[in-house]
């Protein structure tokens, strides 16, 4: 039996083992080293960021979490970054779900991001969990004109009349933008067809890799920002991380007495190259800053990004090796195919 015959009769368990190692080893390596692969954001990820960034602080953002634990690997990091950008910007977040377990996804992402990193945000004033509602697209069609009909209370059973940030919300038209993390039906497509298009509202979609090709036709008129799979999540995550770091540095510089436009230029520089912050504080230009302000600036510039905000970028490592393995397997399969065809072996 030659090599081709051996490969042709390769037990599928060897392939399973290879895939297990292709995913497992990078997870372990990234877990130990903490290193991630660099991300170059595509225009679609940048557009998703810009939609939320261009809105004034305090804007009302409807966040629809239409996914389940099966797709949390792809969509969880997107949800995290969406919340982080909105929380950092000061937008008001209204969470709903059209999937039964979407309610748990809302709890999970809000407790991790808001509970862990934005504890100053007040429930009912800065964010509200309106929970799951059955009815698929009928829910969207109804709340387009009458929000209270489906959401008379929040997920905790509190009447919306007693929730300060619900004041003035009568329909979807009262929101400034819609954000949807979707793993299928009901999800992105329904939000495009029944909400964003008739109301002409900005819509950002984060969806699974399988769904992404179906959503591209709606870009850019009906969907302004599209994050496809973990790659889209990683791009958006890297944009948000840089922006948050830049905002924190800007605050530190301005508290230290550095004014615009110098503060913005420096914040951008230190975000790209944190080591420059230490060097700059020794220069004459930083003389106006107090030693405490300088220490604070250096701390912010060099502070590690919390793991929760690196999840998507960390997952790009296993994805890289798994994709390379897939390509290798396809090539190997075709080598066997052509070799056998040449020998006249039936396939």
């Amino acid at each position: 039996m030659n090599l081709i015959d051996r490969m042709a009769s390769l037990d599928r368990r060897w392939i399973f083992l290879m895939m297990g190692l292709a995913v497992g080893i990078p997870i372990i390596v990234i877990g130990i080293t903490g290193k991630t692969l660099p991300e170059e954001p595509t225009p679609l990820a940048q557009a998703a960021f810009n939609v939320l960034d261009d809105l004034d602080p305090g804007s009302r953002i409807l966040m629809a979490w239409d996914f389940d634990p099966a797709s949390e690997g792809e969509l969880g990091p997107m949800a995290t970054s969406f919340i982080r950008q909105c929380a950092q910007k000061g937008h008001r977040m209204y969470f709903i779900a059209l999937w039964p377990v979407g309610a748990q996804m809302i709890r999970s992402s809000t407790s991790r991001v808001i509970g862990g990193y934005y504890p100053d945000l007040v429930y009912g004033k800065d964010w509200v969990d309106l929970g799951f509602k059955a009815g698929n697209e009928a829910v969207i069609k109804t709340i387009v004109t009458d929000f209270d009909q489906y959401f008379p209370t929040d997920a905790r059973g509190t009447s919306v009349d007693a929730i300060p940030m619900m004041e003035g919300i009568t329909s979807l038209a009262d929101f400034d933008a819609l954000v949807n993390a979707s793993a299928g039906y009901p999800g992105s497509k329904e939000w495009v067809l029944y909400a964003a298009t008739p109301l002409k509202k900005p819509l950002i979609i984060g969806c699974t890799g399988v769904q992404a090709p179906q959503m591209y036709p709606y870009v850019p008129n009906q969907v302004q920002g599209l994050l496809g799979a973990i790659k889209g999540a990683a791009e958006y995550e890297s944009i948000v991380n840089k922006w948050v770091r830049s905002e924190q540095l800007l605050d530190a510089l301005e508290l230290g007495g550095i004014t615009e436009p110098t503060s913005s230029e420096l914040a951008a520089r230190f975000t790209e190259n944190p080591a420059e912050a230490s060097t700059w504080t020794t220069e004459a230009a930083a003389a106006a800053m107090s030693p405490e302000a300088k220490t604070r600036l250096i701390e912010i510039a060099n502070a590690p990004i919390p793991g929760i905000f690196l999840e998507a970028q960390r997952r790009m490592g296993p994805q890289l090796v798994a994709h390379l393995l897939m390509i290798g397997l396809i090539i190997a399969g075709n080598v066997i195919f052509f070799a056998n065809r040449r020998r006249g072996v039936s396939q």
Binding site: L10, R12, I15, F16, M19, G20, V23, L37, P38, E40, T42, L44, P69, A70, S71, E72, G73, V101, A103, Q104, R107, K133, A134, G135, N136, A138, V139, K141, T142, T145, D146, Q149, Y150, A155, R156, A212, P213, Q214, Y216, P217, V219, G228, A229, K231, M316, Q319, L320, A322, H323, L324, L325, M326, I327, L329, I330, A332, G333, N334, F337, Q347
Partner: protein, 233 residues
């Protein structure tokens, strides 16, 4: 009667929903019909539970193959339903300490939360993760460049697989990003394929599907297509 009533309901609701989109003063009629749909959708959960019970109880009583799995389905269904419906192990809401059922059933630490966190979540995530293994096996055994179309598909798959990872950037980063050939960088090529070829194909499909849905909907509203009633009519 069993067929005529559903046919009339379908026809009236269908016409109302169409009219409400075009005649402003009938918009509330459409909203009313959508509300009914919401009620039916909620009731469908109960019907779904009933249907699940019926199918699996029959399987157990007939001792069909895999009847033991049906027992597990029914056992876990009943346990989860009881834990959620009767708020077992849920502490009262601090605002209403005297009301035993006022607590949050999904709150951290409750049995319902435990079932979700430690049974449902790992099981569904595992099922989905297993796809990677089967896709790898299928890629090795089935993805063959048997003809020109298959070769095109393979080429596209390679570009997308590489372009969606750092490998794509690494392999073609030597092409200047602001030069005339920047479009040949793998990450740019993958975006181009998705935004041009994929969009063109998908838009055609979407328009075709929309026309098909419109045609089928009209047939259903007019009672010409009764297949949704069952019975092979």
């Amino acid at each position: 009667m069993k067929r005529i009533v559903p046919l009339w309901i379908t026809a009236i609701v269908g016409v109302v929903l169409i009219i409400s989109n075009f005649v402003p003063w009938t918009r509330s009629w459409g909203e009313e019909a959508t509300t009914w749909f919401g009620i039916i959708a909620a009731v469908a959960f109960v019907l779904g539970g009933g249907s699940l019970l019926k199918v699996h109880l029959k399987k157990i009583s007939d001792r069909n193959s895999g009847w033991a799995y049906s027992m597990i389905v029914l056992g876990t269904f009943a346990a989860t339903l009881a834990v959620g419906l009767f708020k077992i192990g849920v502490s009262p809401n601090p605002s209403f300490p005297d009301v035993p059922w006022s607590g949050d059933v999904q709150g951290q630490g409750t049995p319902f939360w435990w079932v979700y966190e430690y049974v449902f979540k790992p099981l569904t995530a595992t099922m989905f993760a297993m796809l990677a293994f089967y896709i790898a096996s299928a890629a090795f055994r089935a993805f063959r460049a048997k003809n020109f179309e298959a070769m095109l598909l393979l080429g596209t798959a390679f570009i997308i697989l590489l372009g969606r990872t750092f490998a794509g950037y690494f392999m073609t980063s030597w092409i200047p990003i602001d030069g005339p050939f920047s479009g040949l960088r793998l990450e740019e090529l993958s975006v181009y394929i998705m935004q041009v070829f994929n969009t063109a194909g998908n838009r055609a499909i979407i328009i075709g599907i929309a026309l098909g849905i419109a045609g089928t909907s009209l047939k259903i509203i007019m009672g010409l297509d009764r297949s949704y009633l069952g019975g092979g009519d």
